[in-house]
């Protein structure tokens, strides 16, 4: 039934809808919602999308099922590859990345979509929490046409007034020209997706704004779990739930093992 879906499935569907045919989708490690979303978009409306998992580039719109890979460094994800690039050579054609889309997580996110994977604590040499490191997010967030911040939880610990450290630059201290002033060619973060709702960035200030509320979530609940004041429009729509067809494709062709329902 279409009413019976997990919040991860909802997030995957919402993300998939926002991806356009012809785009190149770069997926990093340990992001099952994103892995499902790009496959779903590819099968639903993106026959010319290219999916890149750790340098393995594929177009699999012709396949019936595209199940999730087991692990990043796994031969099994290579079976669909049309080309492969190692990490170093992945940056050989940054010029082309205005058509690329990327997805980033964060241990902290601030009101302007700057994200932190370095760690938490005032003193860098004695962090309270040492993060995993920037992966490729500094370069990717600089160059891709747009990117999405995708988070598994929504809390005041993550959404903070100021990141202790910034590993991927979003909109800096705000303003529509923040990135242009720094000479960053990419289009910056578009949405921040969480289990509570979808956030975007106000046109002028580029401050984070509540864009839609997942079914059953209130604006007060989102604000209460956010460590800074969100821009709150008068009307905030409810996130459109998955359609029957979206859920059907997701569950039968993308995620038959139900990873997103665990």
């Amino acid at each position: 039934m279409a009413h019976d879906y997990s919040v991860q499935e909802l997030m995957a569907v919402v993300l998939a809808r926002d991806l356009s045919d012809g785009e190149v989708l770069r997926v990093g490690v340990a992001m099952p919602v994103v892995e499902a979303a790009v496959r779903l978009a590819h099968l639903m409306h993106g026959p010319n999308m290219e999916l890149i998992f750790f340098g393995v580039r594929m177009n699999v719109a012709h396949l019936h099922t595209v199940p999730l890979p087991a692990f990043a460094w796994d031969r099994r994800v290579v079976r669909w590859a049309e080309s492969y690039s190692d990490t170093g050579h992945r940056f050989d054609r940054l010029k082309d990345w205005h058509n690329h889309v990327f997805f980033v997580g964060g241990v902290q996110v601030d009101p302007y979509g700057n994200t932190n994977l370095i760690g938490v604590g005032p003193e860098y040499r004695r962090l309270h929490f040492r993060g995993p490191g920037s992966v490729g997010t500094a370069t990717l967030s600089t160059h891709v046409g747009r990117y999405y911040i995708v988070l598994n939880s929504h809390s005041r610990r993550i959404f903070v007034e100021r990141c202790d450290y910034i590993s991927a630059y979003g909109w800096g201290t705000g303003g529509a020209d923040a990135r242009r002033r720094l000479g960053l060619p990419g289009g910056g973060p578009r949405y921040c997706l969480t289990p509570l709702g979808v956030l975007d960035f106000a046109e002028e200030s580029k401050r984070m704004r509540l864009h839609s509320l997942h079914p059953g979530v209130s604006r007060e609940e989102v604000q209460a779990h956010t460590g800074f004041q969100l821009v709150m429009p008068e009307q905030i729509p409810t996130t459109v739930p998955p359609t029957v067809e979206e859920l059907h494709v997701l569950r039968t062709r993308v995620d038959p093992q139900g990873v997103l329902r665990r």
Binding site: G88, V107, L127, F129, V135, L140, H143, I166, G172, L182
Partner: protein
């Protein structure tokens, strides 16, 4: 005319590991060349600067080999956002972290490979990276005056890699492309040791010269199953149960101070086996054969 033979470059894993001495900078490829790394642990190498990521980095830290880490990622898989030994050692200041990022690390390795003092990079402008890593300098480019990062050359003493095949003369071929940064580590390093699943004839290499990814490794180590417990493309998948065994042991040592499990792991798998063959005996043929499953 002098009768001379072309020199072969095959050495065993024990000899190979002896090239590494305390305090060196080593670069670890992907999949990690575990036969070589276990020998480093066995020999009690200390004070290394290590370019690596993930669980193999964590193992070297847990074994006490590491003083400084150059890494862009220390996630663990299995839902573990940060590998445990790295995390604790970094939080306590027991290891130094040279904070970087994939593109920045690539640029620094390429600079070393091309004997340039630096290469410019745009990714990282606007971030905290040049603050937490003062070796990264913002500068104004001499052509258009744009603000860029100057990434200094990053030069490993030795690159340790794992690949599919090589001939006796150091011509290395991967199946399905080289790992993450392997080619850049090779280019930047003073010397490169590659352990391979199979040693093949020179004629096999010459059948497809374009597939030669590393043309002239300094030494080749024959190490079938040498990436275990990690996967080796075209040969075997990862040994998930074994990786979990390590991760559980390291997590227990860090979170609750119970170090027995970790000590056992290090002794049983890394310190006691004299050769790679001894290690594989402890894993067992039956277990190894299950890893062929697709």
């Amino acid at each position: 005319m002098a009768e001379q033979e072309r020199r072969q470059r095959i050495i065993d894993e024990v000899t190979a590991a002896s090239w590494v001495t305390d305090g060196m900078t080593i670069a670890v490829g992907a999949p990690p060349p575990m036969a070589l790394l276990r020998q480093l642990i066995r020999r009690g190498i200390k004070e290394l600067t290590v370019i690596d990521s993930g669980l193999s980095l964590d193992l070297l830290i847990a074994a006490g080999c590491v003083r400084k880490v150059i890494t862009y990622y220390a996630g663990g898989g299995f839902g573990v956002p940060v590998v445990p030994s790295f995390r604790r050692a970094a939080e306590r200041g027991e290891i130094e972290v040279w904070e970087c990022e994939e593109g920045i690390l690539t640029a620094g390795l390429q600079a070393a490979a091309q004997l340039l003092p630096f290469l410019p990079w745009r990714g990282g402008v606007g971030t905290s990276l040049p603050e937490v890593n003062p070796d990264l300098k913002l500068f104004s480019d001499p052509i258009r005056g744009e603000t860029l990062l100057a990434v200094p050359a990053i030069k490993p003493d030795i690159a340790l890699l794992h690949a599919a095949t090589a001939d006796a003369y150091g011509n290395v071929q991967h199946y399905g492309g080289p790992g993450w940064l392997d080619l850049f580590l090779y280019r930047a390093a003073d010397r490169t040791i590659v352990q391979v699943e199979r040693v093949v004839a020179n004629e096999d290499i010459r059948r497809d010269p374009w597939a030669t990814t590393i043309a002239g490794a300094d030494a080749i180590v024959r190490a079938p199953y040498g990436a275990h417990p990690f996967s080796s493309r075209g040969f075997y998948v990862q040994d998930t149960a074994h990786l979990r065994e390590y991760l559980d042991a390291a997590t227990a040592a860090v979170q609750s101070g119970h170090t027995e499990q970790l000590t056992h792991y290090l002794n049983y798998y890394c310190r006691e086996p004299v050769t790679h063959g001894d290690y594989l005996e402890r894993i067992g043929v039956k277990r190894l054969l299950t890893l062929y499953e697709y």
